[in-house]
């Protein structure tokens, strides 16, 4: 269960303060598929980053299962990002010097306590599931943008998170690839019961969500 209370994000720029997120209250029940829509610059990414523990709110709270994540210590927050959240960025987000398998295994390796052999077996299985079984040893630059995005999804799943946060994960991909990748994400939501919060411009896709959040000017509009 996720709830945001009075969430704000103000950026200080040369032209004064920008209220990217201007007071958002939002609840997403566990296991739900929620879609966030809104025009470019409306504050969607800023909101997602605050929910995912990547960007400290200027005000307000992000409560996950009863804990305000922004009250956690630095190391607890790192563990939260690592175990509870699978983040899929808007842009290419694999480490270029690591093979796909290493990229996928890395979050599990950071999550100490795991056995390296098991971790790599799991990483390889996830990549296989994403249709990348033949590219385990490839470097990110050696595969297509769509394949990179699949590898990111595999990486997001490696620690079996409670919540996937996907910020326009397909905006730079062709339509066919977009459909395939969305299918993967929806399947994860359905089959694993993982909460999915998806930022998208694709209204047809948003229609499939159980909850649609429309944002404009940093606020939720109906």
């Amino acid at each position: 269960m996720l709830s945001c209370l009075g969430l704000r994000k103000d950026y200080v720029t040369e032209r004064g303060a920008v209220a990217a997120v201007a007071g958002i209250d939002l609840q997403v029940a566990a296991g739900r598929f929620a879609a966030i829509i809104g025009r470019s610059g409306s504050g969607k990414s800023s909101l997602m980053a605050m929910i995912g523990g990547l960007s400290r709110p200027s005000a307000g709270r992000v409560v996950v299962n009863g804990t305000d994540i922004w009250d956690l210590t630095e190391n607890e927050l790192a563990a939260f990002r690592n175990r509870r959240i699978g983040y899929v960025f808007q842009f290419a987000s694999l480490l270029p010097t690591l093979r796909l398998i290493d990229n996928v295994a890395l979050p599990a390796m950071l999550n100490r306590g795991g056995n390296a052999g098991d971790t790599y077996a799991r990483a390889s299985a996830l990549l296989g599931q994403m249709g990348l079984g033949d590219h385990l040893d490839a470097y990110p630059s050696e595969v297509s943008a769509g394949e990179q995005r699949r590898a990111v999804i595999a990486r997001a799943l490696i620690n079996d998170p409670a919540m996937i946060l996907a910020d326009e994960p397909t905006s730079d991909l062709d339509e066919q690839t977009e459909i395939e990748i969305m299918d993967e994400l929806l399947a994860v939501n359905r089959e694993r019961g993982t909460t999915l919060i998806l930022v998208t411009h694709n209204l047809a896709l948003a229609e499939q969500a159980e909850q649609i959040v429309h944002i404009a000017g940093g606020e939720i509009v109906e």
Partner: protein, 412 residues
């Protein structure tokens, strides 16, 4: 399947290594800069310690600060050391023991007899037999370049560099067998190089033969309780002029001879030079540390997105900082090792001219022994690595403080 059995540490270290490989030219320049610094430091430290030790050896080898002989006795003053010439003018053996001069730390007596037909060397050759007290001596034994593997015993003789005879061989002096115990290094001083050195006991045993041969009495220096002169080492901090005055006013009928002062001037110059080298080394290290810091600030900036990503997937701050520090330590460690190799090559190359120069100014050069050299090398490499760690620490720590989202967006 490529399920590698390797740990996180390995993964982060290989990430660091690959990051170095991404910008080959830059990594090469960093390594080269550190190599130059570490080479200078390693070479400087090795030479400094070698020269330091050489000078220490030089000083003890030098013999003495002063020589005290009977008024009117002949003396041989050379740049390198003081020696007493054979003379019939003698002093009491207990002169210094009685006087108790505070400005004198050590005074070692010597007896010298110039003999002919002793059986040493060719028939007509005269030889100096020099007696010393092995317990008090500090001017002869430091010159030993080779010796038997035992204590000096009665009946043993030590040969000056100018005399040939294998160690352990027998040498007849006035028909009496003596054992060649050791050989002294070259000093350039005739008395020393042609001398035959022995303990007072050994020399005393020869007294009758020496006297008897010529038909007369033995030389004055061989009389019991008499010596040819004393070699004196001043107490630390004692001023030579005052010591000289104290000796002259306390002891009657003596002459005080001091060594050449230009040598000590050169030595002081060398010591000042070494201080300069030390200062240069410290500066070199400081500037290398700053350079690494500046470079890693740039590297961290360039890699902000990746660091943010690592943070976003749950890397702790310590892991982010650790990764950057490992990267720096690998580069500077390699640079440090390379510098040591470079330093060794340079020293090999200039060894001859260096040794020649130092010996010219009266400092016999002694290289550091291998374990010490290895210790200096290890210290240089460790120091280089520490510089890398320190240089990368601050920029990495600063970046690791930012929110991951700011890092991936290229801000913060």
């Amino acid at each position: 399947m490529t399920a590698d059995r390797r740990g996180l540490r390995w993964l982060l270290a290989s990430l660091a290594l690959q990051n170095l490989g991404r910008r080959k030219a830059r990594s090469f320049l960093l390594i080269a800069a550190v190599a130059v610094a570490s080479g200078v430091v390693f070479t400087g430290a090795t030479l400094m310690r070698s020269i330091d030790r050489s000078m220490a050896v030089g000083f003890t080898r030098m013999g003495a600060d002063m020589m005290v002989v009977s008024e009117g006795a002949l003396t041989n003053i050379t740049a390198a050391l003081l020696t007493v010439e054979p003379t019939d003018l003698v002093l009491d053996a207990d002169l210094f023991a009685k006087a108790q001069l505070t400005s004198v730390s050590r005074a070692t007596p010597q007896k010298i007899a110039r003999v002919e037909h002793s059986g040493i060397g060719s028939h007509h050759e005269s030889a100096d037999l020099i007696g010393f007290d092995p317990a008090l001596d500090f001017t002869i034994q430091p010159w030993l370049v080779e010796k038997l593997n035992r204590e000096l015993l009665p009946g043993d003789v030590i040969l000056g560099a100018g005399r040939e005879a294998p160690l352990g061989s027998q040498l007849l002096i006035f028909g009496k067998p003596h054992t060649v115990y050791g050989r002294l290094g070259k000093t350039g001083v005739g008395t020393h190089e042609r001398g035959v050195f022995m303990s007072f006991r050994t020399l005393d045993a020869l007294a009758t033969s020496i006297g008897g041969h010529g038909g007369g009495s033995p030389p004055a220096a061989l009389q019991p309780g008499k010596v040819s002169g004393f070699l004196v080492e001043l107490a630390p901090g004692a001023a030579p002029l005052q010591a000289r005055f104290a000796i002259l006013s306390t002891l009657k009928g003596v002459k005080v001879v001091t060594g050449d002062s230009t040598m000590s001037g050169i030595r002081q110059g060398l010591a000042a030079l070494l201080d300069g080298v030390l200062a240069l080394m410290v500066l070199m290290f400081a500037s290398t540390a700053l350079m690494v810091c500046v470079l890693f600030s740039a590297i961290v900036t360039e890699r902000r997105g990746e660091l943010g990503l690592l943070k976003a997937i749950g890397a702790r701050r310590s892991q982010i900082v650790g990764m950057m520090v490992i990267e720096a330590v690998i580069a500077t460690g390699i640079g440090g090792a390379l510098g040591v190799v470079l330093g060794i090559l340079v020293m090999r190359l200039y060894e001859r001219s260096l040794v020649y120069y130092l010996e010219n100014v009266g400092v016999p050069f002694v290289w550091l022994d291998t374990p010490q050299m290895v210790a200096v090398a290890v210290a240089a490499i460790v120091l280089a690595s520490v510089i890398g760690a320190l240089g990368a620490l601050y920029p990495a720590w600063r970046a690791s403080r930012s929110d991951p989202y700011d890092l991936v967006r290229g801000e913060g």
